[in-house]
């Protein structure tokens, strides 16, 4: 169009422009890598909860009957940790079995703990009365215990051996860290008998 267009890109400046662009892209890449690393660390820390043979995350439970109960005070005992809620229908399926087994094993170095996940106190108390539950129960305040154990839902049951480590339960022929879904008398019995037979420190 009869116009001469002068591009403001002399070759020597093009070279410095290129290195500067490289610098910018490098910097951006560095930032992205740093963010990804942060994400990876976060995901790793989130983890999958307690592992077999590893110490069971300690907690202190404020009990509905008053007082407190700390897991770390129960070293030397076999502990059953049961997560439940009054609004959970399948918890009702296992509640009678849990109470029966508690009564059968309580004098043999076994402790049952009921951790109430997200509940209203009146409803929880009604539930405990309905099934005549006599082992200690308390609300998982702030969902701290549920989070430490990474529960998938309720009901869920963990076993802790005499040394305070997470003990396995066999589900469908596989060793598991937890029993997801209602636990049966037979399952409780088999795990408790095995753990009670174990020598402490052995």
């Amino acid at each position: 169009m009869g116009e001469v267009v002068l591009e403001h890109t002399p070759t020597e400046e093009r070279a410095t422009g290129l290195s500067r662009r490289l610098l910018v892209f490098g910097g951006a890449l560095l930032v992205i890598v740093a963010l990804l690393a942060l994400l990876a660390v976060g995901l790793r820390r989130a983890g999958g909860g307690p592992e077999l043979g590893q110490p069971a995350p300690d907690f202190t439970l404020e009990l509905y009957d008053g007082g407190e109960l700390a897991l770390s005070d129960l070293r030397g005992k076999v502990v059953v940790i049961n997560f439940w809620a009054s609004w959970c229908d399948s918890c009702r399926d296992e509640a009678p079995a849990l109470e029966r087994m508690w009564r059968e094993y309580k004098d043999r170095g076994v402790m049952f703990i009921g951790v109430d996940y997200v509940d209203v106190e009146s409803a929880a108390r009604a539930y405990l009365a309905e099934f005549d539950i006599t082992y200690p129960n308390g609300l998982d305040k702030g969902q701290r215990i549920s989070r430490a154990y990474r529960i998938r839902g309720v009901p869920e049951t963990f076993f802790v051996d005499k040394e305070g480590n997470i003990a396995p339960i066999v589900v469908n022929g596989q060793l598991q860290t937890r029993k997801i879904s209602p636990i049966t008398e037979a399952e409780l019995r088999s795990v408790l008998d095995r753990l009670l037979a174990e020598e402490e420190g052995g």
Binding site: E3, L6, H8, D89, S181
Partner: protein, 195 residues
């Protein structure tokens, strides 16, 4: 040639911005959606009723109920994912709303009631993260992200427009005297380069 280069740069900038936005979302996302960090797949999914509690309940006939719903609007159902306590139809939430009314009757303030819920059900009980501590990130990050994108975008645009700055020269007219020496030298050099 020029067009292609421009398209290429636009693509790079576009994907860069998209990546940045995606990353910000990924990093800030967990903060913003911490209330969703409930154990997945509760085997109890009691929200089978599609009608919300507010629809089921009688129209609030008292100031107390009005106040209760105002507070429940700031809270989440701690079991369902991302449902407000004020709208959650399940039994446990009805009981929680009843409890709010009870606490209001006892003369507790909104802050006290909300704090009690946070103490019992964790920070997930709130449907907005409180503006304090680490949670500030959730409020700040979107604006930081926007600012970063704007700054980077603006910088890149400036680079482009600078690079494309042109000096028109009318044909047949000797305006050499008006052009800086530098341009003339470059013109000469580039004409030689291209010929």
């Amino acid at each position: 040639m020029q067009q292609q280069g421009l398209l290429f740069r636009a693509l790079i900038l576009g994907s860069g911005v998209a990546m940045l936005a995606g990353l910000l979302f990924v990093v800030a996302g967990p903060v913003m959606t911490r209330r969703h960090a409930l154990p997945e797949g509760n085997r109890e999914s009691p929200d089978d009723q599609r009608v919300t509690a507010r629809q089921m309940a009688q129209p609030p006939d008292s100031a107390l109920e009005e106040e209760m719903y105002r507070i429940a609007d700031k809270l989440n159902c701690p079991i369902c994912q991302g449902q407000r306590l004020s709208e959650c139809p399940i039994q446990i939430c009805q009981e929680m709303r009843a409890e709010i009314i009870q606490r209001l009757r006892e003369g507790q303030t909104e802050e006290e009631i909300i704090q009690a819920f946070v103490d019992r059900y964790g920070i997930q009980a709130l449907n907005q993260p409180p503006v304090e501590g680490f949670n500030i990130l959730a409020w700040v990050m979107p604006f930081v992200g926007l600012a970063v994108v704007l700054v980077i975008g603006g910088w890149v645009l400036r680079q482009w427009s600078r690079r494309r700055a042109t000096v028109p020269v009318e044909a047949g007219e000797d305006r050499a005297g008006e052009l800086p020496e530098e341009y003339l030298r470059r013109l000469q050099q580039e004409l030689e380069d291209y010929s």
